[in-house]
Amino acid sequence: MGRKALLISPELCIGCRACQVACKSWQQLPADKTKNTGSYENPGDLTPNLYNKIRFVEVPSQENPVRWLFVSQRCMHCDDAGCMKICPAPGALYKTKEGIVAFNKDKCIGCKLCVAGCPFDVPRYDEKGKISKCNLCEDRVAENMIPACAKTCPTGSIKYGDWDEMVASSKKAGYEKLYGQMDLGGLGVLYAFKDTPKLYGLNERPQIPESIVFWHNVLKPLAYIGLGGVVAASALHYLLIGPHKEEEEV
């Protein structure tokens, strides 16, 4: 079985937020106490109890009073996942065979390094200090069901299926390139944008911080090559040159 993906088409999203509720329902996440802050968008940001949120964006328009855009914001399930890269706890973050970046709260050590590793500002921490984010309904998917958000979306704005199939079908529908298709090894959440991703609050080119990439590619190997090298050099020195003994000095 190949990699799976969510395909999000904001053109079809009507901002009904059924996905937001379905997510909470399946994941059994409690509600956050909120206030109206002058917008439909609520809560204002992802929280430990909110894995998937619809952003409401008002953009100026020539033709109409305004353009009102709706888009789902959540974990992107990167192939090259910054959170997994930086996470120091064995088994806390893992990838399923479908390509989902899933988590195990029991193994999470609450260090929050993943916050630094994520290019999308996704990981949140619950009151026990454990990671909390979309896991693409890993448990449903394992039982051949589709994620709750995709299941409940009335307009097909959130679709779930084979990664390749999602890319191919969007291409047919006229989307030459999906957002996330080429980024970070290919995101597990693809977006069919007609406008620049910036309008929807997303980076044009999402990246894992360069220092983390450098650390991963250079420092990490150095940490064992260095240690190994020094130990080996010492042994070699001992054998070839030997210890520094007083009587040998002239």
């Binding site: 009507i14 937020r17 409690p30 206030k35 109206n36 802050t37 002058g38 917008s39 305004v66």
Partner: protein, 837 residues
């Protein structure tokens, strides 16, 4: 809905006006988006740039309460540019009929039709009728040129709705109007279809019925009624509102839209005479000629063997309205306020928040001796006595709470907007001591009946003699547990005797005694059949000797490809998915649009019912008769109308045969730009006037203290007064508080910032709300002045959340006034002020 939800995908143009399906009917957007994928255009006309507008190809902003002006302009555009579907209009509507000479229109009588009586605020409709020929049929002119023809009068009436005038009144820019008119009128071609979706944005006006009438006229002119992808489609505000009206929950109808009898209709004969239309038109099916069968079968269903020919089938047991009595919502609470009621069952409702002018309702409740609240939760109605501005010590109303079960805790059917009756199953056991509504009724019925049996009373017979065979009875005769299937079967109806078709020789057996009837054509007027609701006859029937609950069917086949899914559940009438579908074919029975053939006449196929060639294919047709062109047996498509054709000339309405623009009761204009004398609908009941009326019902139009147009509406996350949804934390999280949407321009004027707490007030009350300052609302240019519009949802109440953080209902602001035909309150256009709190 004339059509059904899935059918929206078949449209070429979708006009959403008077509704906001993306917010309030999200599932419908699935089909709208499917249509758009195939190239359909979505037009949204709304005072606010809504979530639906966000998906529209064309959005036009309109001042609340000016829909008739907008649509009148479209009618003019269609006629002036010859864009109507001529063959359809001539054959299937009353356009060629000649109207009486003395019929006068608002253009001639400054806003009034002929026959108006100022005292009663009612019309004498004698002149609103056709000139008859020697055969008793309306005179007609198929060239549509006769100046007294309906078509020419229509043209004349709307000639006043010029683009400039319409733009000035509605505040919609001219180019937008033209864009909408042009796009929608493109569906006047046989191979193009447009549909209209509306909800309370059209109904909740003092011209609510006429809003819909105006659109009906457009749909008929364009030949869009009866077509797949066409029709006029009411998006019902609740999953089972269609069911509620079908089952006669309103005061003026029994089940199946049989009128409630009034006091002067003393016996069944006079009832039948009054409500059974006659026609001289031989090609008309005149479906209501079946009224005697339906009312008799209904009486047999509710009074069983007690109903006999000798006792008029217990007709006398039916409750009667006083002649001319209107017992609708606003009048009901007006009477309650005036102390005319002792008790009140608030069953599954929350009038303290849902009712227009809720302050008056809250005060009215205090005049009661007792109230029973049947609900899932304690709500603002049951606790009104400790609500805002109430002193519990002064209130003597005794309140009883009967907890009832939620929909998922019980089995039964619901009927959705598309007339689709779907059987649903119990998912979980009822919570705590709550009971399904039917069980509560069973308990109540048993107790009330026993009291009548013991103590007698004024007229015990109608209660004592009710049939109540809904399950096994205990030794006291009480039904132990109400079997909802027994109810469904009673609604469907039984053959009470062996019933024969006596028109053929020898008589042919139609149905055997005790069997469930498989369709209303088999109902009888002689007491040999019973049927609780003729529309649902055939929903739970004997098919080939087996009992089938057709509402529980779940077949996924779609033979036409038009999304009819005939084997998924069951829709009235007779599982017909698109009503008036005979109008989708030409007089020969060929579809106007072969690519969207909802039905089609196949002249060679042998009809198994008659054993003769010729039968319809596709959807269940509106009657099996051959197409109109068949000289002997052909029938006209609009089977519910005595003349068989659709009415452009709506003489049945209280306020005029053609919709005319009147301003809302409260509006920003001093005069109606279309007729100086008549600012408001002349036929509405005024609860308040300078001469008198209750101060509670005060209204202030064109008053500097309340300068902004306001509309109430709903959001996706909450339902009605929010009793169910406010108690659902996940939904409250999304929309936690009452808010008011205002334009940036108004906000700047009032120095209000988004997120500020503001006070919204009207002549009748005030509420606080959180300001949502947005570009989604823009000021209008109306009659050369700038008009601001604001809007707020009405889902909140002081009772929950308990900390009061939600706010109260927006209905504290709305006026006590209703549409003259339906009495639906005008909560979509009234005047308010807004100030920073």
């Amino acid at each position: 809905m004339t059509n059904h939800w899935i059918d929206v995908k078949n449209a070429d143009v979708i006009l959403v006006m008077g509704g906001n399906p993306a917010s309030n009917h999200p599932i419908s957007m699935k089909w709208i988006m499917k249509a758009r994928e195939k190239g359909a255009k979505l037009i949204v006309v709304d005072p606010r740039f809504t979530q639906t507008a966000a998906k529209a190809d064309i959005y036009a902003q309109i001042r609340s309460g000016t829909d008739i002006a907008f649509l009148g302009g479209m009618i003019k555009y269609i006629i002036d540019n010859n864009l109507y579907f001529k063959e359809y209009v001539i054959n299937y509507t009353d356009a060629p009929f000649i109207v009486k000479e003395d019929f006068k229109m608002p253009g001639e009588l400054d806003g009034l039709y002929s026959g108006y009586d100022e005292k009663t605020r009612k019309y004498d409709k004698a002149t609103w009728s056709f000139q008859m020929d020697e055969n008793g049929l309306p005179k007609r002119d198929n060239s549509l040129k006769d100046p007294r023809s309906v078509f020419q009068l229509l043209k004349k009436h709307y000639s006043r709705y010029t683009i400039d005038k319409v733009s000035e009144v509605t505040g919609t820019p001219k180019e937008k109007l033209l864009q909408v008119y042009k796009t929608y009128a493109s569906t006047g071609k046989p191979n193009r279809v447009g549909t209209e979706l509306y909800a309370m944005g059209w109904t909740q006006h003092t011209v609510g019925t006429q809003n819909i009438r105006a659109m009906s006229i457009i749909q008929l002119l364009l030949g869009n009624i009866g077509m797949a992808g066409g029709g006029i489609n009411a998006l019902r505000g609740e999953s089972n509102v269609q069911g509620a009206t079908d089952y006669g929950v309103l005061f003026h109808i029994l089940t199946g839209y049989n009128p409630t009898p009034s006091a002067s209709l003393v016996d069944l004969k006079s009832y039948i005479e009054k409500f059974t239309p006659k026609t001289k038109e031989t090609r008309s099916v005149n479906w209501w000629s079946n009224r005697p069968k339906y009312i008799t079968s209904y009486l047999k269903a509710i009074y069983g063997s007690k109903a006999t020919e000798e006792n008029d089938y217990c007709y006398s047991y039916l409750p009667k309205l006083d002649d001319g009595m209107n017992a609708s919502w606003l009048n009901l609470f007006d009477n309650m306020y005036k102390g005319k009621f002792e008790g009140f069952f608030a069953w599954g409702q929350n009038p303290a928040c849902s009712s227009a002018n809720a302050n008056k309702v809250r005060k009215a409740l205090a005049k009661l001796k007792w109230m029973v609240n049947v609900n899932l939760w304690e709500n603002e109605t049951s606790t009104f006595w400790k609500g805002p501005e109430m002193n519990p010590k002064d209130i003597e109303t005794e309140v009883f709470m009967l907890p009832c079960s939620a929909s998922m805790e019980k089995e039964g059917s619901i009927s959705n907007s598309g007339r689709l009756a779907q059987w649903r199953y119990k998912a979980v056991e009822p919570y705590g001591q709550s009971l399904p509504d039917a069980e509560i009724m069973n308990e109540l019925y048993y107790r009330v009946k026993r009291l009548y049996q013991k103590e007698g009373g004024k007229f015990p017979d109608p209660i004592i003699n009710l049939t109540w065979d809904y399950g096994e009875k205990d030794k006291d005769g009480k039904v132990k547990h109400l079997d909802i299937h027994a109810v469904a079967k009673e609604i469907n109806g039984y053959y009470l005797e062996d019933v024969y078709d006596k028109k053929v020789d020898p008589p042919k057996l139609i149905g055997k005694k005790g069997e469930l009837i498989n369709g209303f054509p088999n109902l009888q007027a002689d007491g040999t059949t019973s049927c609780g609701n003729w529309l649902y006859c055939g929903s739970y029937a004997h098919v080939d000797g087996k009992i089938v609950n057709k509402m529980a069917k779940r077949g996924k086949d779609d033979p036409t490809g038009l999304g009819l899914f005939p084997n998924w559940a069951w829709s009235w009438p007779l599982n017909r998915r698109v009503i008036y579908n005979r109008a989708s074919v030409d007089p020969k029975g060929n579809p106007w649009d072969p690519n969207r053939a909802i039905i089609k006449w196949n002249p060679t196929k042998i009809n198994p019912a008659t054993n003769k060639p010729g039968m319809w294919e596709g959807d269940i047709p509106d009657g099996p008769a051959p197409p109109l062109a068949d000289e002997k047996a052909g029938k006209l498509p609009f089977i519910m109308k005595p003349l068989g054709v659709a009415s452009l000339f709506g003489a049945g309405l209280a306020d005029g045969p053609f919709p005319e623009h009147y301003e809302p009761l409260e509006c920003p204009l001093q005069e109606n730009p279309f007729s100086k004398k008549q600012r408001i609908n002349p036929t509405i009941k005024l609860f308040y006037s300078k001469e008198g009326g209750l101060q509670e019902d005060i209204f202030l139009s064109c008053d500097v203290r309340f300068p902004y147009v306001c509309s109430t509406y709903r959001v996706t996350e909450h339902w009605q007064t929010g009793v169910m949804t406010r108690h659902t934390p996940w939904l409250l999280e999304l929309q936690p508080q009452l808010f008011v949407e205002i334009s940036k321009e108004l906000a700047a004027e009032k120095n209000i910032k988004t997120g500020d707490k503001v006070i919204v007030s009207s002549a009748r009350g005030k509420v606080w709300a959180i300001a949502n300052v947005t570009d989604r609302l823009k000021p209008f240019k109306v009659m050369n002045s700038t008009i601001h519009q604001v809007g707020l949802p009405y889902h909140y109440g002081w009772k929950f959340p308990v900390d009061g953080s939600g706010g109260d209902t927006a209905n504290l602001l709305t006026p006590t006034v209703g549409d003259p035909n339906t009495m639906i309150p005008e909560s979509k256009a009234f005047m308010v002020n807004i100030e920073k709190a």
